[in-house]
């Protein structure tokens, strides 16, 4: 068996399940490695010059890794898996899970297969201001201050009509508008820096880039962070047609980051400028696909199969 697409993660997780379904519909040979079975799976890799061979096996199947042409990884942090998190680090199953994930990660970095996405390609998302330094070659980025100084934070906020704050790292946070109540907490900054940004008035567009294809979705929401829009109707999503130059910029930025799939958070400002807040290397695109009918999972499937 060759020309296999390998899916790594928890099978019923929506982004993974949608791609599995699309691969099946397109007649692509697909194997799903259920990460929850890590303690009863095995992986071996050998690299000799440019020849990379190995196997991944679980109770249901064994695959020769050289037969794999595409990999979609939605691996969770293995230490948080229910099967692992209660185990002491000295437990052989804990060690096994750690080693297997390390080996898989090594393989994902070197395999000639198309991988969405390699760990190394996810790198920039671990520091948002660091990523902004790449983004600004293609898009506007908001004026940003990273600081642990209350006075500097206050001064920054006073220079902008509205200001938001969010995490600096890849850790998820809710984008929040800075207000008078926050001023009372500014003394806490000495212990932890904050990322402040000028508020950009306009509308949001999430762009999913898959290889050289794009799927843009306009987001309507009154919330500061539309992911946490708890209004009665919640955020609204409609397919959106990008200007050609913006589409090109999205594709080029994604390619520069060596990502096969990315979710770009754009804001089309009222003054005509287009800002990019973040490039997400592991986007949960399924929410956008189910709302708009855009065939994102199919595009991912075709990309992985080599189309």
């Amino acid at each position: 068996m060759n020309n296999i697409v390998l899916l790594l993660g928890v099978p019923n997780e929506p982004p993974l399940a949608l791609v599995a379904s699309a691969l099946h519909k397109n007649g692509v040979r697909t194997l799903i490695w259920d990460q929850q079975k890590v303690t009863i799976s095995n992986c071996k890799i050998q690299i000799e010059n440019s020849n990379i061979t190995g196997i991944l096996s679980c109770p249901e199947w064994t695959v020769s890794l050289e037969d794999v042409v595409g990999v979609y990884t939605r691996l969770a942090s293995w230490a948080t898996l229910p099967e692992i998190k209660e185990l002491p680090p000295t437990d052989p199953r804990f060690t096994h899970a750690s080693t297997l994930h390390l080996i898989l990660d090594e393989w994902l970095e070197v395999t000639p297969a198309r991988v969405i996405n390699r760990t190394s390609a996810n790198d920039s998302n671990n520091s948002k201001p660091y990523q902004a330094l790449m983004i600004r070659r293609y898009f506007y980025v908001p004026e940003t201050l990273v600081t642990n100084q209350p006075d500097a934070a206050l001064d920054f906020c006073s220079r902008h009509p509205r200001t938001i704050y969010k995490s600096i790292s890849g850790e998820r946070s809710i984008v929040t508008e800075f207000d008078t109540q926050d001023m009372e907490r500014l003394n806490l900054l000495q212990n932890s820096p904050i990322q402040l940004q000028e508020w950009i008035s306009g509308f949001d567009v999430r762009v999913h880039v898959v290889g050289d294809r794009t799927f843009a979705t306009r987001v309507e929401s009154a919330a500061i962070d539309y992911r946490y829009d708890y209004s009665i109707n919640g955020a609204g999503f409609t397919a959106y047609e990008l200007p050609a130059d913006v589409e090109d910029a999205c594709i080029q930025l994604t390619a520069e980051m060596k990502l096969g799939l990315a979710g770009l958070d754009l804001r089309f400002a009222n003054d005509g400028r287009i800002f990019c807040f973040e490039v997400n290397p592991s986007p949960a695109y399924s929410v956008f696909e189910s709302s708009t009918g855009q065939p994102i999972a199919e595009a991912i499937a075709l990309y992985l199969a080599g189309s």
Partner: protein, 242 residues
């Protein structure tokens, strides 16, 4: 205090004897060397990093008054990890979040400092590019360098052979190979490998147990003394080059 000319900063842990050795050598060559420890970055420091579409400004001041700005001549970055942080909440999750926030802030600050930074961080790694052994060997093969087979199994871990390790050093375009284990062509390839890996300063380990040097890995944390005067001179050149 404002730093005079020929001033560099070494970011390192208090136990970093390699950094201390380099500082002594550079001071003997009339460089002013300022150590900044990871704890100093976190405790009562003052960080401001401003990023906009066409500009970046940053200033970092430690509690003892050392100011790090774009006026520095260079930074030797050996910031391997930040010290463990504790939260008032006592929550381990909060502490890890805090550590990630500081790390992400310093990554961006180091990435954009205008002076030479040896080495620049990556989004994940404060002290520069780090990869698994398989990836280093994969890259080495792409560059036409010799490697030894690498085998790993979830049952056995990574199989190590009896290696005779020899280190050479890359500093910019210079390769310091004191034992002359590499041909000129191989040295050039090693320099290219370091460059594409965005490591301006690194140690490259070879296994010479079978006669022909086989590349094992690149390491941004250089044991400077092993590179001797030639490495110090090469570092000086990098710090003074525009």
């Amino acid at each position: 205090m404002t730093m005079p000319l020929r001033t560099i900063c070494i970011l390192c842990s208090p136990q970093d004897k390699h950094a201390l050795w380099l500082a002594l050598q550079l001071r003997a060559r009339e460089w002013q060397v300022e150590f900044i420890l990871p704890e100093e970055l976190l405790v009562n420091s003052s960080l401001q990093l401003r990023i906009s579409t066409d500009n970046t400004e940053s200033i970092l001041q430690t509690a003892r008054g050392v100011t790090l700005t774009h006026k520095l001549n260079g930074v030797i970055n050996r910031l391997y990890a930040l010290p463990p942080l504790h939260c008032e909440s006592g929550s381990e999750v909060d502490a890890l979040y805090l550590e990630e926030e500081w790390r992400a802030a310093f990554v961006a600050w180091l990435a954009e400092l205008a002076c030479p930074v040896l080495n620049r961080p990556t989004g994940t790694s404060l002290h520069g590019t780090i990869c698994g052994d398989a990836y280093w060997r994969y890259l080495a093969v792409q560059m036409g360098l010799t490697t030894r087979p690498w085998f790993a199994s979830s049952g056995l871990g990574v199989t190590e052979s009896n290696e005779q390790r020899i280190q050479i050093f890359v500093a910019g375009k210079q390769v310091i190979d004191a034992q002359n284990i590499l041909s000129l062509e191989a040295r050039n390839r090693v320099a290219m490998l370091a460059a594409i890996s965005q490591l301006q300063l690194c140690c490259v380990e070879f296994d010479c147990s079978t006669g022909e040097p086989c590349l094992l890995r690149l390491d941004p944390l250089v044991p400077f003394a092993a590179g001797g005067d030639a490495l110090v001179t090469a570092i000086e050149t990098m710090l003074t080059s525009p």
